[in-house]
């Protein structure tokens, strides 16, 4: 499997945080197996922001969810590949990565929310409507920072309180915590958590975090809710933040602020970000590198400016042409014709060939691999080596025409 394109010189040597290798996720449907993610590979390096772009249904969300094994398990199946992950500690000590798809459930729980965090598309739906903001954000601290909460004199802390700090208590135990012998310590615990929560909220520029903590999600505006989500996600200073269309559900005016916030926090904490989006202009603004997905596969990767100014893959070219810009003459809005192909029990072929202007017969029979073309990566037979494929030169498609 060919490695994806190299990153620009300044980042080329940055250590890897995540390396997705030939990821395959299938869904069992009535007609058979739908290959939602069909051999996806890309890397995310330390401190960079990678954009994963594609239209609805191309598999970008499934890919993102696979990182945390959040794909619904029937009907979804992790059918192949690995997702290697280097945490900060691993990188520092030069150790081996863990395969997120292979680790135990317990190890995964330790990573979720702590080393890798995720923010979801619609903050209104991603926050529990019946829990206060403070309680929800506190959960992350209880789950991952209980030792900090207990402090150094852990031997002086009663078992009950210690269990509370790890969210292991049962109903009767929780009632008991209100009683005098444990009340003082339990309250102290609460205060410490609240302080951490307030701190996390303040970091996302929420004014008056203490007041917000007592509120419920429906009392907050969309922008506020997303800030809370971000605060929650970055609470434990994760190595990787996965942002699944974080601004799609927000007003345009708020979008910019949120994006700024994410960028700012990222720089401050050195977090790497995986940005999922279908909004090209957003990706152009926010991402250092971009990977374009189509029908479950990566079709192009590269530095953002390069891919945007010189798209190699016919699909990417179509995308760039379809985005209206201020300089475009009227009447030039181009849509890409055709539809997404059959993803159930597919045969080897280029997934884009049904919509591709340049498709030839070969495209219907061979899976194009992701190849290096300069600093970019493309999965299109037009850039393939006929010799390697063992076919006559003339059978390769020809991609031509002016680029954006």
């Amino acid at each position: 499997m060919t490695a994806p394109a190299a990153s620009p010189p300044s980042r080329a040597t940055a250590p890897l945080v995540v390396s997705v290798q030939d990821l395959r996720v299938h869904f069992k449907v009535k007609a058979g197996m739908a290959h939602a993610v069909d051999g996806v590979s890309f890397d995310v390096r330390d401190g960079e922001t990678l954009g994963l772009v594609g239209e609805t249904g191309c598999g970008k969300t499934v890919t993102a969810r696979s990182f945390l094994r959040l794909v619904k398990s029937p009907p979804g199946i992790y059918a192949g590949g690995k997702i290697d992950f280097w945490s900060r500690d691993t990188r520092r000590s030069g150790g081996e990565p863990v395969d997120l798809l292979g680790i135990s459930d317990r190890e995964m729980l330790a990573i979720r929310g702590d080393r890798i965090a995720m923010i979801f598309q619609d903050p209104a739906k991603a926050l529990n409507p019946a829990m206060s903001i403070g309680d929800q954000v506190a959960e992350v601290f209880y789950q991952h920072r209980s030792d900090d909460l207990i402090g150094e004199r852990s031997d002086r802390v009663p078992t009950l309180v210690r269990r509370a700090s790890r969210q292991l208590t049962t109903g009767p135990e929780r009632l008991a915590l209100r009683l005098p012998p444990w009340r003082r310590q339990s309250r102290a615990l609460r205060r410490r958590v609240d302080a951490l929560v307030a701190g996390a909220l303040a970091e996302t520029q929420i004014a008056n975090p203490r007041k917000i903590m007592d509120r419920y999600p429906h009392e907050l505006s969309g922008g506020m809710k997303q800030r809370v989500m971000i605060a929650q996600a970055l609470a434990c200073n994760p190595d990787l933040l996965i942002a699944d269309e974080p601004t799609t559900a927000l007003d345009v005016t708020i979008q910019a602020r949120i994006l700024e916030l994410i960028a700012d926090l990222q720089e401050r904490h050195g977090t790497s970000v995986l940005y999922i989006s279908h909004d090209l202009s957003l990706v152009r603004q926010m991402c250092d590198r971009v990977a374009v997905m189509y029908a479950g596969r990566i079709v192009e990767t590269g530095d953002t400016p390069a891919v945007f100014s010189d798209p190699l893959h016919p699909y990417t070219r179509g995308l760039m042409a379809a985005v209206p810009s201020a300089t475009q003459k009227r009447g030039e809005l181009q849509a890409i014709e055709g539809n997404v192909p059959e993803m159930v029990n597919p045969t080897p072929s280029c997934r884009f060939h049904t919509r591709c202007r340049f498709a030839v017969d070969l495209c219907r029979r061979v899976d194009p691999e992701l190849l290096d073309v300069g600093d970019q990566g493309v999965a299109c037979l037009a850039y393939a080596s006929a010799a390697e494929l063992g076919v006559p030169e003339s059978s390769l498609p020809l991609v031509e025409g002016p680029n954006r």
Binding site: A117, K125, E139, Q143
Partner: protein, 337 residues
Amino acid sequence: MQIREYILRRLMIFPLIIIGTSIIVFTLSRVGGNPIAIYLEHEMTPAEVAEIEERYGLNDPLPVQYLAWAGGVLTGDMGWSGVSAQPVTEALLDRVGATLELALFAAVVAVTLGIGLGTFGGARRDRLPDHLTRVFSISGASMPIFWFAILLLILFWVNLGWVSIGRSDPTIFASIAHPTGLYTVDAILAGSLTAFLDALAYMALPAITLGFGATAIIARMMRSSLVEELNEDYVDAARAKGLPEKLVLRRHARRNALIPTVTVIGLGFGFLLQGTVVVEIIFRWPGLGRWMADAVLRGDQATIMAYVLFTSVLFLAVNLIVDVMYAYLDRRVVLGA
């Protein structure tokens, strides 16, 4: 605020509906034959009958009769109960304890078992436990109480001899005082373990029979609510925070699924109320249900009217409370800022 309006409206309509119900009840009693038939003896002369009719105001225009009756109800006089040979109000108070106790225990069974089963099934959607739960739920909703009771009796009483019919062992019952009318509570107050166990032993089977239908609908509602909640984004978001699945289920999904389940409680209570009639007949439980059954067979209008009015008011009240509770809980979930 929307919710305050809602509560006020419901509260204002409440008495209106009760009045409407009382009108229906009254109409019923006048429709069906002679309301004082139960007081008449066979050998009365027409003159004596006429005199009784006059005494009970049967010659007055209907609205007047209604007001007389309604006035009586409000002052605690609901006439004479032929089947129990005592004033209706007294008869009602005598028996309400037995029925309430039975209904309460049945309700406890129904709620705990129902929520438990619903959670059990809902968390394992489309797998065996879920299918079993659904079969149980729908059987429960279709189950004729009288048949279920008889089956249980055949098994536990005739064949196994584990239970006896009735409310208590008469000697034990007589050995303690009964301030509240609830046998179990009275036993606790009297500090008598024998009496307490006696109460439970007799109540077990009737309570289970009675609660069965309600358990089924609660389990069903809980299951479907849980399945819906588990599909929501916030559940995945909670998982993404690294919370163990049990915690996600308990604190996020289940807690939110309980909210709509509350709405079924009103319905379940209706099931319970209706069930008491049959259950009390079969298990010879000395409560309101059996009182009504006797009245129905003997045409005792006063008793029938009182019973219908009482149960309707109770049913309405419970539904009102449940609806208000739900509106209060739900506004956090549904109502925007």
